[in-house]
Amino acid sequence: MRFSGSRERGRIGGLPGTEIRTTDMITLQSIITLAYYALTAGAAALLVYNFVKAKSWEREVLYLIVLLPFLLRVLHLK
């Protein structure tokens, strides 16, 4: 596995050909984090939409309960 474009390197288990360049790892981590938050916000929006469209109070309560942890994540609280 090889990534390109950075200064520091670490090898997986000391094996040749498995160099991971640190800043690339951090960049990938940042991209995944941003994607995660985008997905979380998207899921929250869908849950709000479903809540608005729901016909029964049981469904509405269910959507709200599921929505809360998503909102806490999007707001960077938990």
């Binding site: 520091e8 094996l15 640190t22 608005v52 109070w57 509405e60 806490l72 609280l77 938990k78």
Partner: protein, 388 residues
């Protein structure tokens, strides 16, 4: 949508906002709780960790670094608590050093929140209390209860396998956020690695002679009531252990840091700097898997009937009875161990002495409790106050 439907949705929505606000506020308050530190007369300078590792500036881990300098030159000892923020005796022992110790010779450098990010979150699904309060004559001081790992809000995601840098050793995935698996770190790594790199730079640049990492452990863990030492500190640790056991009234053993277990302070600080690295372990029944209710009382009293029962069955590596392991006992073990380290180091290294006074010792803590030694921040002048 009928008016009835609309009214119901508005009411349920308002209720959800109330729940969101209450829970969100509790998480926010925990993450942002400011813990006052009254700097004692021994503190001559306060800086932040980013002075040694600029890549953590502005992050949750840019911890305060307290420097206590003696009138006469000598060696340097670095003590840090809060590597694992769910082990409060380490933080509190370091706290008492900052609030009380004064140096006659040499320097003492102290960090109270080595992984400050980990002190802003508790263990998921473990029902930890968010805070705990140490009673004092002036009311009480509240501290953040933390976790073993860096807050996922500050470092995420975890990899499938954590590959330690620079050894390449495979470690558990979650240890990518464990400060005591991420030494010696690197300046461009994860937040945890950048933090350990900054600590390594501190140790190197300040020419630290001895680095002491303060911990607590569950009684079902074999490394407990002990000093773990790098091979460079074997004589020092053995003498500290013997002296403490002889003079202070508590038993503490010595263990040697495994050569091939990487990422830990007692291995990597010794390997990657001039310093001797030691790690002190005190017992914390709160962490035992067999504990009962997980609350602040168990955290501070160290009493738990289920852990006692496990002890009767021979499942523990440290003794326990109905009296438990109170926080004062655990903090006292650490403060006495630090004080004895300074004394023994000075005996062994007369050319680099580190002499301190006013460190509360084990007997003082057991007699008076931790709260007796916490200073009232309301009585301190602003220039002697810091916040963790």
């Amino acid at each position: 949508m009928t008016n009835t439907d609309l009214t119901r949705k508005l009411l349920l929505g308002a209720l959800a906002i109330v729940f969101l606000s209450v829970s969100g506020k509790s998480f926010y308050d925990h993450r942002h709780l400011r813990e006052p530190v009254v700097m004692g007369p021994g503190v001559t300078r306060v800086t932040t960790l980013s002075e040694y590792g600029p890549t953590i500036r502005g992050t949750a881990n840019d911890a305060n670094i307290y420097i206590l300098e003696g009138k006469a030159p000598g060696g340097t000892v670095f003590v840090f608590g809060g590597t694992h923020a769910e082990e409060p005796a380490g933080r509190l022992a370091a706290w008492l050093l900052v609030e009380h110790a004064t140096m006659e010779r040499g320097r003492l450098i102290v960090a109270l929140s080595a992984n400050r990010s980990a002190s802003t979150v508790t263990r998921p699904s473990a029902a930890y209390p968010a805070t705990y309060t140490i009673p004092t004559a002036w009311g009480g001081q509240t501290f953040r209860m933390g976790d073993r790992f860096t807050n996922p809000l500050d470092q995420w995601p975890d990899p499938e396998v954590f590959i330690h840098y620079p050894s390449g050793q495979y470690l558990a995935y979650v240890d990518v956020r464990n400060l005591n698996r991420a030494f010696p770190g690197r300046p461009t790594g994860t937040l945890t690695e950048r933090t350990t790199y900054a600590f390594m730079e501190l140790v190197r640049r300040e020419k630290v002679d001895v680095a002491i990492d303060l911990h607590e452990a569950e009684l079902q863990y074999p490394v407990i009531n002990t000093i773990v030492t790098h091979q460079k500190g074997q004589e020092l640790a053995t003498m500290i252990s013997m002296t403490l056991t002889d003079l202070e009234g508590f038993n503490i053993g010595t263990e040697f840091s495994p050569l091939n277990l990487h990422g830990l302070t007692h291995r990597e600080i010794g390997d990657h700097s001039q310093a001797v690295s030691l790690l002190f372990e005190a017992p914390e029944p709160f962490l035992d898997a067999t504990r009962g209710r997980t609350n602040a009382d168990v955290l501070l009293s160290g009493r738990d009937e289920f852990v006692v029962k496990a002890g009767r069955k021979g499942l523990l590596f440290a003794p326990i009875d109905e009296k438990g392991w109170p926080i004062a006992t655990r903090v006292g073990r650490h403060t006495s161990s630090v004080a004895q380290t300074l004394e023994t180091w000075t005996e062994f290294n007369a050319d680099r002495p580190v002499v301190a006074t006013n460190i509360p010792r084990y007997a003082d803590l057991v007699k008076h409790g931790v709260g007796h030694f916490l200073r009232d921040p309301r009585l301190a002048s602003q220039d002697r106050l810091a916040y963790e």
